[in-house]
Subunit: 206 residues, 2 copies
């Protein structure tokens, strides 16, 4: 690992590289170039070479990248060469869709616990998991040693649930609620808000 | 509007500023500072001042930003001072959740058409809209003049549907499928993939 921290914006592109490479591997490719990968991802080949060079020499001049090797290195750097247990809070329409999403496991994550505060939902099953009440959530998450959570609760509840997750020892939160939440260092938060992405595009439309 | 194009990374932060300011306005605030807004969003005040200065002088030294005015300006810059019709393709678990999401309308977007290729779903209703088949999708989108689409289909179908959307005149696509799609210039694509966000955080976890 490098001595100086890698800029977060570089780290943010690595999952895209990994996803693109995994797709190429699935299609039967064994070797690729920064041009080829960049063409698929809409990222310049110079950017890809520069990003990857921060972690050492992955490609050889003239022969390209060994896809399987690069996948292995990226998985190690992103720490998804293991499987992280994930707690999902909020089992409404969106939470249900997330719980059913089949794309987590082979990319490093496994939802292992569902929580909701709706008495009508508690005890019910989604994706072969029993929905638990939020009342015992802090103790339960702590007992399970879960460190990653996804938040699919309404905006108004997001901060309160976030505080509970932090108390429970959660260190990374993916927030689907359309609001910003405060967390103490060194807890990480990422947001998924479709409107933020849509607005980023409409600016450019004629 | 400025003569030189604003870097896309700056444009990408404006929806976050808009969301934060809208939340403050809802809470009854009228004036804010880059420090206050930055504290909420986890973005440095210097970054906020620098970003906003690209569009002109929104704040006055010492008196802060007028929230209502800044919201109005950001909505104009992002072109969400209007409402964009949105076509949603793929009405599985996720598409259904997206169709029911109440947070679009007051932020510039309105889902007005649903499409799916599953005969069992076509003709059914979700969120008071009738699901239409993908067979007539291109003509239908063109006739409606819709320019923004959301894609909630499986990864394997994403490129084919994207090609159809482009043919129909769609100029901005928000892709929920965990894959990269190719579009011709000047069509815009943004991606929502929870694993990409999760992997960006696990890198940092001890």
């Amino acid at each position: 690992m490098p001595a100086t921290p890698i800029p977060d914006i570089v780290i943010g592109r690595l999952p895209l590289y990994l996803r693109g490479l995994a797709q190429m591997a699935k299609e039967g490719w064994e070797i690729t170039s920064s041009q080829e990968l960049g063409g698929r991802l809409g990222i310049s080949s110079a950017q890809i070479r520069k990003d990857l060079s921060q972690f050492g020499e992955f490609g050889k001049q003239g022969t390209g990248y060994d896809i399987a090797f690069l996948i292995e290195q990226l998985r190690r750097i992103l720490k998804v060469d293991r499987v992280w247990d994930v707690a999902l809070v909020g089992v409404g329409d969106l939470g249900r869709a997330v719980a059913h999403y089949a794309g987590f496991l082979d990319r490093g994550f496994r939802i292992t616990a569902l929580y909701d505060n709706d008495p009508a939902k508690i005890g019910g099953q989604v994706a072969r998991m029993v929905i638990q009440g939020t009342a015992g959530m802090v103790d339960d998450i702590r007992a399970r040693g879960v460190r990653v959570a996804m938040l699919a609760v309404p905006a108004a509840a997001a901060q309160q649930v976030t505080d509970q997750l932090v108390e429970a020892g959660i260190q990374a939160i993916l927030c689907y609620a359309p609001t910003s939440v405060s967390v103490p260092e060194p807890v990480y938060v990422q947001y998924i808000d479709p409107v933020v992405h849509l607005q980023r595009m409409t600016h450019h439309l004629p």
